[in-house]
């Protein structure tokens, strides 16, 4: 019995997403299989971050319909599945943009994410590189049906490097994973639960870890922004230039954001999915580069 399983294991799984078939290794998630195909077929992901273990499953923007569970068991899955947390099976048939149900549910999720969002893009440093803006533009509906007062939080200062705007947070939990997995000691987290859950540092302790700049990079919205770049310029006026920084602890891949000859800020370099390129070899971009 065990031998049989062994023989089958190395084979690649065939999965069909929106009528495009791709072969992936067993254990791959639907989202990553879709990323291998690329383009419109890839569901948006607001909370999943491939480099952060345990991330995903929270925002529900990546929901897809599984029209056929696998070759062996062709039954469809009754509920829409979070593609970032569902692994593929051999012969699985997935519908993303070809499914009305998915589009409808996704529009719903976008509406929920924006429900209590301040939408203060004109004064938000994230504007222009905000995943929520992109998501709203691609999948959202015009106008709001929410007529109540939007949620607000007490302002909290979390240190000299990072600016926290809790009202803009979508509670993707990425920053807490960064703190857990990259920094020595996590000093912030999610307090409370339900609709009053918030990001906070315990006893308002400043986040001044060398690696906490990563939190700014993983935050998909303008909840965590770079204090040293605050209100200096708009993202779309600056020009990204790839650069390298000799650094013993990180991969050194950075992007300089220039306006004319002036370098206005430095960030980690992002890939097409908006993720920092690599944390390989414990590659970490530390905050020191921000204050050069």
């Amino acid at each position: 019995m065990a031998e049989e399983v062994k023989k089958e294991a190395p084979a690649n799984f065939k999965v069909t997403i929106d009528n495009i078939t791709v072969e992936v290794a067993p254990g791959t998630t639907i989202l990553n299989a879709a990323r291998q195909i690329g383009g419109d077929v890839t569901p948006p992901a607001m909370c999943y971050y491939s480099k952060l273990e345990g991330s995903g499953g929270k925002c529900r923007t990546c929901l897809v319909e599984v029209a056929q569970g696998s070759e062996k068991d062709p039954r469809p899955m009754p509920k829409l599945m979070a593609s970032c947390r569902t692994t593929v099976m051999d012969g699985m048939v997935v519908k993303n943009i070809t499914s009305e149900r998915v589009q409808d549910a996704r529009a719903g999720v976008v509406e929920f994410l924006l429900l209590n969002h301040p939408l203060d893009c004109p004064i938000c440093d994230q504007a222009g590189e905000c995943h929520l803006q992109d998501l709203g533009y691609d999948h959202g509906k015009e106008g709001t049906r929410y007529e109540f007062k939007r949620r607000t939080f007490e302002k909290e200062d979390i240190g000299p490097y990072i600016q926290l705007h809790m009202t803009r947070c979508i509670l993707c939990y990425r920053c807490t994973y960064v703190a857990d997995q990259l920094t020595d000691k996590r000093v912030h987290g999610i307090l409370d639960r339900g609709d009053h859950a918030e990001i906070s540092t315990y006893i308002s302790k400043a986040i001044d870890n060398d690696f906490s700049g990563n939190m700014i990079d993983v935050c998909p919205v303008g909840a965590l922004t770079d204090k040293t770049f605050r209100f200096k310029n708009r993202v779309w006026f600056t020009k990204p230039v790839d650069a390298h920084r000799d650094c013993p602890t990180c991969c050194g891949k950075v992007t300089l954001w220039n306006r004319g000859d002036e370098v206005l800020r430095v960030t980690a370099r992002k890939d097409e999915w908006g993720e920092v390129q690599s944390y390989d070899d414990k590659a970490r971009l530390d905050l020191q580069y921000l204050s050069f």
Partner: protein, 144 residues
Amino acid sequence: MKALQMEDFATGSMMGSGGFIVLDDTQCVVKHTYTLARFYRHESCGQCSPCREGTGWMEKILLKIDSGKGVMSDIDLLWDIQRKIEGNTICPLGDAAAWPVAAAIRHFRDEFEWHINNPEDCLRKNYGLAGYADEIHVPVLSNE
């Protein structure tokens, strides 16, 4: 006499986790739906967006209807919200929050409409269409 069985609840209503609440016809459906929505808003852990945001939204709309400030489109809005929560959350709490609202609208839509058409009565009386006996005295509204 026949024992109560799961099949007896196959009316598009919700048996939930096996527990049930019996309400007689003197009770206000809207008020009870609001109570359930309030419970689920409070219990939501806040991890996933449909439940975190949706439960609070439904609660606010139900309170609005119950306090005589609702409009007709609120009923369809509620229906749409519960539809977008159901099945899209990480855990079944989202489903459980959506079902009572769906069941109430499916079976007692007239009760919701009554609240919207009779904004003053629903502030003064603790019931909708039901024949509940006691009136609530709302000091602001009474002219004495």
